[in-house]
């Protein structure tokens, strides 16, 4: 070795190492593997995983380190001042070939029919670092069970397994459920569950992504696509308000899977099964495709979008002229984008002039952005966490993993309590903690406020788990009675259920509904009566349903995965969504429909409503959204609160 060690630098908590002749200074305690990554030097590895502790079982990352008598695993060796590492000499090359040859001794080599083929570390490393041939005859392989269902979601191929322990460690370190273990030993070792039982975890879907090979695969994705055929759309999981980042992978205009897209501040790369396996619903062909006019007592007919918009404007104007602007109720949805909701709020208040606007049925008393002050990543900084009831974790399951991480990494105490638990008792339970998080869902907001007020002697921050992917955005955008965009006070109006009741009793004469809104459909009978009684029901919705069926003017909407826009998660993080599928209707996007409707109703200063232009206008109007940009948190200063 002729390489010279990196010159010792000032004592700044960093050490200098030389890897393949290149020097880098990294913080003390950095692993050789991560130092190499910093230099752009690739060290092949199976067992190491960015989110898991080192274990050093796969031996793939062995490198030569000067003054060490034997090769060392880069994934478990920390750097030291002056360390000289070599990853590209003949010794390391031979080691890698040897390890790969061993890993492939009993591997079935069924890449052509393996779902992982094309995105498999075993395949990739063998191409890049492996021997071209094997000295072991293919006829003498030890065989294990193939296509073993571990649950309705996960399939296990024990032959393909390379025993890297990642799935076992995932269950140990990330979920704490310990469902998967390695049994037997030596060549007979296999990944399995207790007594062959089915997996019960709510986070199984992460296993195929943790697995570096094709041993654990999604049953829903089996034989559906090859990775190189997939179109990848970076988006946000639409199942809840947590805002997990996903890649919506589609092929032939169908979403084939949701893959995680690591955002350490939100999902930390883990998705829940409810979210991950919710993708088939977006491939439905049951869609509203054509604009229709269905006048009460008249003939139903298909029209163009332009005709439908003018008809909607005509109907709404007629109601306003006859009964006043307060006779119109406007309902948005937590599935709409910020851009749509912002336009809807302006359309209702500024153009139509009605205060009756909401996005869900229940009223929000004393809404305060401070109840979302505790960020998801901040949970890890808390000494004590209070979770009121099972609802927060049922609504946003990935929250459970963040709570477990806080417990495991920082020793935080997590108090899971009944949602009616006595505030003073909770306060005494968390006494001594310096930073405290109080987490509740929307139905227990008021109680969470009492709990937060009762806790003294520590910094308390609250997190309210909102409903629907953009439930938080709907509040920020002022799709609420009494609060306009940016939590500015507005004339008080009826909340969701009151709007429906008023329409059912004839007090409201027209409804403008921007769907799809599953929350609305839980209203049941009152919704039916409201839709039947109103003179005019203008519905913009993507799916045939109760609302679309009762519309007097029906305008096709776009599904979540067919549009551009932003959604805001429960902590106020503004994140972009992108289309993964072509639109099922030629009708213009919702923002353009709303802009045209506003223009028809007499608004003069609205532009055409392209989503990107609406987003710019929205950010110009709402400073927290300008500051948040794409991926940041919108935080509302106390003065802005009404």
């Amino acid at each position: 070795m002729t390489q010279t060690p990196a010159a010792p630098g000032p004592d700044d908590g960093r050490v200098g190492v030389t890897i393949d002749g290149r020097e880098v200074r990294v913080p003390k305690g950095t692993l050789v593997l991560d130092a190499a990554t910093e230099l752009g030097i690739h060290i092949p590895i199976y067992c190491a995983h960015a989110k898991l502790d080192p274990v050093a079982v796969c031996r793939m990352c062995l490198v030569h380190i000067e003054k060490f008598p034997k090769p060392q695993p880069a994934c478990a060796t920390t750097v030291a001042e002056g360390m000289v590492v070599t990853t590209n000499n003949a010794e390391v090359t031979k080691l890698r070939e040897g390890v790969l040859e061993f890993l492939l001794v009993n591997h079935p080599l069924d890449c052509p029919v393996c779902d992982r083929g094309g995105e498999c570390d075993l395949q990739d490393f063998t191409f890049r670092y492996g021997p071209g041939t094997s000295r072991f005859p293919i006829t003498e392989k030890v065989h294990f069970a193939k296509a073993l269902p571990l649950s309705q979601h996960i399939e296990l191929d024990q032959e393909r397994c390379i025993l890297c322990w990642r799935c076992v460690r995932y269950y140990d370190e990330i979920t704490g459920e310990k469902e998967i273990v390695l049994q037997q030993r030596g060549v007979q070792t296999l990944v399995t569950t207790f007594n062959g039982e089915q997996l019960k975890s709510n986070f199984q879907g992460n296993l195929p992504e943790v697995c570096p090979v094709g041993a654990l695969t999604h049953r829903e994705y089996r034989f559906r696509a090859r990775p190189w055929e997939l179109q990848r759309a970076p988006s946000v999981c639409p199942e809840c308000s947590y805002g997990c980042n996903i890649n919506a992978d589609s092929r032939d205009f169908e979403i084939k899977r949701f893959a995680s897209r690591d955002n350490p501040l939100v999902d930390d790369m883990w998705l829940c099964d409810r979210g991950r396996y919710s993708f088939p619903q977006w491939n439905t062909s049951e869609r509203v495709r054509r604009p229709q006019l269905r006048p009460r007592g008249g003939e139903q007919r298909d029209v163009t979008a332009v005709e439908a918009i003018s008809a909607a404007a005509r109907e709404l104007r007629a109601v306003v002229d006859q009964h006043g602007s307060g006779a119109v109720g406007v309902l948005g949805s937590a599935l709409n984008t910020n851009e749509e909701l912002w336009l809807l709020g302006r359309l209702a208040r500024d153009v139509i002039g009605t205060p009756h606007i909401d996005h869900q049925l229940e009223p929000f008393e004393k809404l305060d952005p401070a109840e979302h002050a505790l960020g998801i990543a901040d949970i890890e900084e808390c000494d004590a966490l209070v979770v009121l009831g099972a609802e927060p974790e049922a609504e946003a399951p990935v929250l459970t993993l963040r709570l477990f991480k806080a417990e495991r990494k920082r020793g935080a105490r997590v108090h899971r309590l009944d949602h009616g638990a006595d505030p003073s008792r909770i306060a005494s339970a968390v006494r001594g903690a310096k930073t405290i998080g109080v987490i509740a869902d929307e139905t227990n907001r008021a109680h969470a406020a009492r709990v937060a007020a009762a806790i003294t002697g520590g910094a308390v921050r609250r997190l309210t788990v909102t409903r629907g992917v953009n439930g938080r955005g709907a509040k920020d955008m002022g799709v609420l009675p009494g609060l306009a965009a940016g939590y500015r006070s507005a004339p008080s109006g009826k909340h969701g259920r009151e709007i429906l009741e008023a329409a059912a009793s004839g007090a409201l004469r027209a409804l403008l509904i921007l769907g799809p809104n599953p929350a609305l459909e839980t209203a049941g009978d009152v919704l039916q009566r409201a839709l039947a009684r109103a003179d005019s029901v203008v519905v913009i919705d993507s799916r045939p349903g109760v609302c679309a069926g009762a519309a007097t003017v029906l305008i096709p909407g776009h599904a979540f995965f067919e549009k551009h826009g932003t959604v805001t998660n429960l902590e106020g993080r503004v994140q972009r969504i992108r289309p993964a599928l072509p639109p099922a209707t030629p009708t213009p996007t919702e923002t353009r429909v709303l802009s045209s409707l506003a223009a028809e109703l007499g608004a003069r200063d609205w532009d055409r409503g392209e989503p990107s232009a609406v987003n710019r206008a929205l950010r110009a109007a709402l400073a927290p959204y300008a500051a948040a940009g794409n991926g940041g948190r919108a935080t509302w200063v106390a003065e802005a609160v009404a």
């Binding site: 310990k178 469902e179 273990v181 049994q183 037997q184 030993r185 569950t193 207790f194 007594n195």
Partner: protein, 205 residues
């Protein structure tokens, strides 16, 4: 299924012995195996409950070691050594004799459920008394086909493992008279005189 109070107490005692309850999995599994005869899923689940670990962890440990039985075994366990010393002293004949007299292959259980026998283990460490076999927890040495028959007949008439519950205490020492038999680890021929110190006791302390 539920374990006897004595077994549960044994597992709880083992749990208290270690800083981590997980470490008590091995002694807990022995306790279960001694009571049930093998490690049933129910038994492992109960161990997991007592030790506050998951059943999958318990099973992972149990499958790693070959002396824990995953499947029901015969009332008695017979292990025949076929390593060098025993082989030189005629272990093959003993294996053939066992196969004939028990009527089943190595690794299986007799039809009457009395014996599970195997000849696939490595050296038992009883070379001084080769050929040797292990019956339950005892060594039987200097085997001949006749002594094997006598030992098995005596075992048939007795109870299994000496560590079973107190109810079995009367028959728990099976056929101790059998000449070739000794506790595992005891000197051949039995202890004949008090063990002497190698150094005379120092009088000055």
């Amino acid at each position: 299924m539920s374990l006897s109070a004595a077994t549960r107490a044994e597992i709880e005692t083992a749990r208290e012995r270690y800083p981590q309850a997980r470490s008590a999995i091995l002694p807990a599994l022995w306790a279960v195996q001694h009571e049930v005869g093998h490690l049933s899923p129910d038994g492992m689940e109960e161990v997991a409950r007592i030790l506050h670990v998951t059943a999958s962890e318990v099973e992972a440990v149990s499958t790693f070691y070959s002396m824990y039985f995953q499947k029901p075994h015969g009332r008695h366990e017979v292990i025949v050594c076929i390593n060098v010393s025993c082989a030189l002293r005629g272990a093959d004949d003993i294996v053939a004799h066992l196969e004939r007299s028990l009527g089943c292959e190595s690794g299986s259980t007799t039809a009457d459920g009395e014996f599970t026998w195997s000849s696939t283990v490595e050296c038992l460490g009883a070379c001084g008394g080769a050929p040797a076999m292990q019956l339950d927890h005892r060594f039987v040495e200097n085997l001949t086909p006749e002594s094997v028959d006598a030992t098995l007949a005596a075992a048939r008439a007795s109870s299994p493992h000496a560590t079973t519950g107190p109810g079995d205490a009367v028959g728990a020492e099976p056929a101790a008279a059998s000449s070739g038999e000794r506790r595992r680890g005891a000197p051949a021929g039995g202890r004949t005189r008090p063990r002497r110190r190698t150094k005379p006791e120092a009088s000055d302390g």
